[in-house]
Point group: C2
Chain length 403, copies 2
């Protein structure tokens, strides 16, 4: 049988590697950034322009799609691919992350110190038992139950090419004991997800060849991360994700990745969930990550920021800035996206000032294309043996062995 | 010199005709519908997809562009074409209509009986003198003055291919005397616009070969419409618009067109300003109109309605309608737009329910493409001598001589 993941190049000075992931809807070249289409749409963008701009795989959110329009409706339409008119690979998460993160705030909030005031307290929105997670819909407050089996069943209905195990996201700054107990439960849930996936009736599903990825937890604790990496890594999954708490800032996130990756099997693709800043992508690749996803490029577009090659400004330009008013240049010189090939900063500035939808659309496209182009550069550098130089050119510091 | 307008076909049973309008940025085949890009963008749509879907000419609004980002800024960018990345023909209105309609409500409101409560009272937002219109900005309340010369100067800066004379829009249900006096003033303003246009310094302008269209007024009064048609029609404009009050309902609007067109020179293109419902387009063509513009297709898209071939439902389907929830068909069977080639009603319904921007984008595109395709059908029928059959197929009644 053809392996799911083949490594095609390695950086001698770091853990970075390039590879190919094979899915029922085609191959994905890694390291890869996947745009997020939470509700079966990457916000404001069409699937065909995503493809034209180099997107190879999209991510959909099971939690949102389960609630609206429902996985059964999507299954009756032939699955998510046909429903949203994207014939390339799709990954769905398990729903677990969203069930919890809508209460706690997401990974991005955590890393950026934007957690809610009482983040360790579970509200009445969500309850966890050994068997299941009970939660209320963010749409209408209706009550729902997700078990590991139910999450897999929902993902079977959605029909993504890569589906994820159902996991608990421990409360932020959960101590060692809670994280350890949660990890054990997530391991038991992983076994239940695997069993449910193996017991599926392929003839009844829109995408019978779905791959199942496991999720490694353990918070910020090296021994728990190692234990989880070794445990989940040995279970027979088609690939692996690094999930759970990634710490309180970017430095800690990189540490968590660095303490986890060496204990993962080399031959499985590794996905760092929910991360997509420019520095995070490069630091993640240097530490051996193959796959990334993040809502940031489209969210930044809606909030009026464009990605640019300017580390001093955190790779962002504020489109409301009056300095852009008569700037005839593109958002980013040399960028080959539709926005930069056709429109000036002055025009984009005007669109944002006038609150015109085309502004959000063009900048969302640029931002996604920017990260896709960055990852194409990363893959080319890995193939050419020049990843260290690329890393230094973007981050202004040499690639060191501890990366 | 090549004439601006050439008639290529005539319907023997009505006043309908097909033709070609020549502009500095290429030709336009008539009868034509032009999508409206009020603020240098057809809302939510890219100029390149408009071109791909058959748009030949766009309309921009001088009032809005003058206030934001300003005609001088656009002129410094090389004009509206380069600013918005549309290299085909553009028409700008004079600003007059918007100055008044933002007080009175627009033609569409009038025809649909949605006029404000005290529509004959000018508010402090706008004042008219023999020389000028004084108005306050809808953006910030700042005070501005438009004279006929100023409107032409602003339109020179924007650089559209077709520009319009500055006119007064009389208050709704203005009596004969007010309408008559207003008409006389609009005629004097037309002469001033023509003089200002002829006195321009082409070397200083982004688009030196701009065409100037006159605007026929006269409200609902046959003798005033005739007098205005003959007066404006003889002044030497490159084309003509039918403006001013078109009455209180569609039937009256068709009467106004029918009482005006016979008195216009045959050899000039005729634009019915601000009209774009399916029946209005067909009835307008039958009465000898060559050009139409309307915000309706993109406005309907934002408000959740798609255009379909269903006269009984006023050619609209409500995208929030639960009947669409599992409808795997396209918005309109046989429609060749990007939306209908790739997405189902079920998916579009989901996007609207989830308030996803892609929904507005796809349906706006469909609605514009729908009207562009209708006009392509009209042109083909005129060329083939089958306009009467097309009219009857769409409107369910024979084309009669009084149309």
């Amino acid at each position: 049988m053809t392996p799911t993941f083949t490594i095609t190049a390695r950086d001698p000075a770091s853990r970075a590697r390039a590879g190919i992931v094979r899915t029922p809807h085609g191959t994905v070249q890694t390291p890869v950034f996947m745009p997020v289409g939470t509700r079966a749409t990457v916000k404001a963008l069409s699937p065909h322009e995503l493809r034209e701009h180099g997107a190879e795989i999209l991510l959909g959110n099971t939690y949102h799609l389960y609630l609206q329009p429902g996985h059964e409706l999507i299954a009756r339409r032939g699955g998510l691919h046909r429903f949203m008119s994207w014939d390339g690979p799709i990954l769905t998460d398990s729903g677990g992350f969203q069930v919890f993160s809508l209460v706690y705030g997401g990974i991005a909030d955590e890393v950026k110190g934007r957690r809610p005031q009482h983040p360790t307290r579970l509200t009445d929105m969500v309850k966890v038992t050994e068997n299941a997670v009970l939660f209320k819909s963010y749409l209408d407050g209706s009550r729902h139950v997700f078990t590991p089996e139910r999450s897999i069943q929902v993902q079977h209905g959605l029909g993504a090419d890569i589906i994820l195990c159902f996991d608990e996201l421990p409360p932020f700054r959960a101590g060692y004991d809670y994280t350890s107990a949660s990890l054990e439960r997530t391991h038991r849930w992983a076994a239940r997800c695997l069993a449910a996936h193996q017991a599926r009736d392929p003839s009844a599903l829109p995408n019978p060849g779905q791959l199942l990825f496991g999720i490694v937890h353990g918070g910020v604790f090296p021994d728990l991360r190692r234990a989880s990496a070794e445990h989940i890594g040995a279970m027979g999954f088609d690939g692996l994700c690094i999930g759970g708490s990634l710490g309180g800032d970017k430095a800690q996130m990189y540490e968590v990745v660095a303490m986890t990756v060496p204990h993962l099997p080399d031959g499985l693709a590794r996905h760092l969930l929910g991360v997509g800043d420019v520095d995070d992508l490069l630091e993640g690749v240097a530490r051996g990550i193959d796959m990334f996803d993040c809502v940031s490029p489209t969210r930044l577009g809606r909030h009026g920021a464009a990605l640019v090659r300017d580390q001093a400004r955190r790779w962002r330009v504020n489109l409301q800035n009056a300095a852009l008013r008569e700037d005839d240049g593109p958002l980013q010189a040399g960028c080959e996206c539709y926005c930069c090939r056709n429109f000036s900063r002055a025009y984009i500035h005007h669109l944002y000032r006038a609150k015109e939808l085309l502004g959000v659309r063009l900048v969302s496209l640029h931002n996604v294309a920017f990260l896709l182009a960055l990852m194409a550069e990363v893959r080319a550098a890995l193939a050419a043996g020049s990843f260290g130089a690329l890393y230094e050119a973007w981050l202004g510091k040499p690639l060191t062995a501890d990366a």
